[in-house]
């Protein structure tokens, strides 16, 4: 199960111009590649969530640059039809009382859609999804895409 868990980098940011460029610069210098990226905005602040090829390095780089940053365990699902796929996953998890905290989708370089999920019980979620033949990607897949 462990290898199905993806380490997502989450960081706190005031909604100020220049923050994103700053992060991109730091990653370029350190050789970290961003695979997926989303911002959850809420008034004065936002939470930036990223899937990168080397989360530990990314965490270190951001932490040393003074960001408030954490690594969060999430799941990644490769899917053909995003809205339909998300509905199915929500349905499967809902039946087992597993809540989705948030989800976001992105398209990879090889034009596959990938859905990132944070759930309240990741172990149970892996179990349920695999039982329902929903294929989860792992860190190795993330490095390759």
């Amino acid at each position: 199960m462990e290898n199905k868990i993806i380490k997502q980098i989450s960081l706190f940011s005031e909604n100020k111009p220049g923050r994103l460029a700053n992060i991109a610069d730091k990653f370029r210098d350190a050789g970290v590649n961003i695979r997926a990226f989303t911002i959850a905005e809420a008034g004065d602040f936002g939470i930036i969530r990223m899937v990168v090829d080397d989360p530990d390095l990314a965490h270190e780089v951001l932490h040393n640059s003074g960001f408030t940053v954490s690594e969060t365990n999430v799941l990644g699902v490769e899917m053909v039809d995003v809205p339909g796929g998300l509905a199915k996953i929500a349905d499967v998890l809902g039946k087992e009382n597993i809540n989705i905290d948030y989800a976001y989708a992105f398209v990879t370089k090889i034009e596959k859609a990938l859905l990132i999920l944070r759930v309240n019980d990741i172990g149970a979620a892996v179990n349920v999804l695999e039982r329902n033949n929903i294929k989860l990607v792992d860190m190795k897949d993330i490095e390759d895409i």
Binding site: F12, A42, F45, I47, G66, T68, V69, D101, R118
Partner: protein
């Protein structure tokens, strides 16, 4: 065992101490009336003669003096001795207009040193201690004041003055500093800097005592400093018009001992000037009883405090003031409600997710006062769920609302984004000025 610098004076029975004080009050009043045109004029205008002061209770007949008097008589118009009898000048830059000049005779400096020697002994600082004085040296009284007190009790002084924090931390380790003297906000800054250098003040230094002052700080901030750095943090009090740092708490940390043979204190209603019963919060008023160059009569310091005349558990009989609760003029009036920055700090420090750094912004939007409290995000408080952060903001806002009776907007901001002060912290930005 409790140690005293001067057990005879410090433990003097109250009755004797009052007698001593009474004698000194009478001679001080006579002294300023004879020697200072300023005081003679002031007393005459109030219809007071030195012989009207017969007992301690008569002190209330004397007119107040204010900071403004010192500025108006710049530079030395209130002095009671000719300049050639002065051993030193200190000058404090006023936020408005002229600076104030305070002169000291050799004996004034001796009394100042004695006051601090008693204070330092009362917190267990003495021979064998290395005191790092990171208050500014120079025209400001903080550095030199503590320096003299520390030497008097036989400690070794490391006179770093303020600034160059990395170097300070290196020296602290290399020379075995046991006692830090600086502002509490500078000490926090230092703690953070040390952490970024990979040094824990708790585990990697010999620090055990902090003498912190020159700005108000809350009980909760003390608890946090003590927990993070493992030291005992003591409040030091004084003001440049008297002679900088003068008094501290004792090891019981239950109020600041004010030496009654040197100073007479009252607490008055800041609006009416009427003395308040002991235990009520008001403005501190001080009369000097041993100063030669610039005695001050019923000086309105502008600090808020509470007076306690109960003898302390440490055996000292001199009155205590509760830790300074902010400046009378720091008080913000927001939608008609009095708010002290110290109150806000107290609330914040009681919320574990909140770090040391915050800032208060007051603005007037559509004719309405709006107070925003900005708090730095910490690793401990961070959750990558937006709702968790909004909940934290709401939690802080509701805690503030309970204490202040005022709706407050709370904003979490980036770690490291609020100004770190090297000296006094600038915690309030009032944009309402127009």
């Amino acid at each position: 065992m409790i140690e005293y610098w001067n057990p005879l004076i410090e433990r003097m029975p109250l009755e004797e101490l009052n007698k001593l004080q009474e004698g000194k009050l009478k001679s001080t009043v006579r002294y300023v009336y004879e020697r200072s045109d300023f005081y003679r004029k002031k007393f005459d205008e109030a219809g007071i003669k030195p012989e009207d002061i017969k007992t301690l209770a008569d002190v209330v007949k004397l007119p107040f003096t204010y900071k403004k008097d010192l500025r108006d008589t710049y530079p030395t118009g209130m002095f009671c001795v000719p300049n050639e009898q002065l051993a030193r000048f200190h000058v404090s830059s006023g936020t408005t207009g002229k600076p104030t000049v305070v002169g000291y005779t050799k004996n004034d400096i001796h009394e100042w040193t004695t006051s601090l020697a008693r204070a330092m002994t009362s917190i267990g600082v003495g021979r064998g201690d290395v005191i790092q004085v990171s208050y500014g040296y120079g025209l400001f009284t903080g550095g030199l004041g503590l320096h003299y007190g520390a030497e008097e009790v036989g400690s070794t002084v490391l006179p770093t003055s303020s600034g160059n924090t990395e170097k300070q931390i290196e020296l602290m380790q290399d020379l075995g500093t046991t006692t830090m003297a600086c502002t509490p906000s500078y000490f926090l800054f230092m703690t953070e800097m040390a952490k970024s250098m990979g040094i824990s003040l708790k585990d990697d230094t010999k620090l055990k005592i902090g003498i912190f002052g020159a700005e108000p700080w809350s009980q909760q901030m003390r608890a946090r400093i003590e927990e993070v750095t493992g030291i005992k943090a003591y409040d030091v009090f004084g003001t440049s018009e008297l002679s900088g740092p003068l008094f501290t708490e004792c090891t019981y940390q239950d109020g600041i001992h004010i030496w009654a043979d040197q100073f007479l204190i009252e607490v008055v209603d800041p609006r009416t000037g009427i003395p308040l019963p002991d235990g009520e919060r008001g403005e501190l008023v001080i009369t000097t009883l041993a100063k030669e160059a610039l005695p001050l009569i019923r000086f309105r310091i502008g600090d808020n405090t509470v007076l306690n005349r109960e003898p302390c558990r440490c055996g000292r009989t001199h009155p205590r003031i509760m830790r300074i609760l902010g400046r009378v003029d720091d008080m913000l009036i927001i939608r008609g409600i009095n708010v002290f920055p110290g109150q806000i700090e107290s609330v914040l420090m009681n919320i574990p997710e909140v770090g040391e750094h915050f800032q208060i912004i007051v603005d007037r939007i559509n004719e309405l006062d709006v107070m925003t409290v900005q708090i730095e995000m910490t690793d401990a408080a961070f959750s990558d769920k937006v709702n968790d952060i909004i909940k934290l903001e709401e939690k802080v806002a509701s805690a503030l609302h309970k204490v202040l009776n005022l709706a407050v907007k709370v904003e979490l901001v980036d770690h490291g984004s609020l100004p770190r002060s090297m000296g006094k912290s600038k915690k309030v930005i009032d944009k309402r000025k127009l």
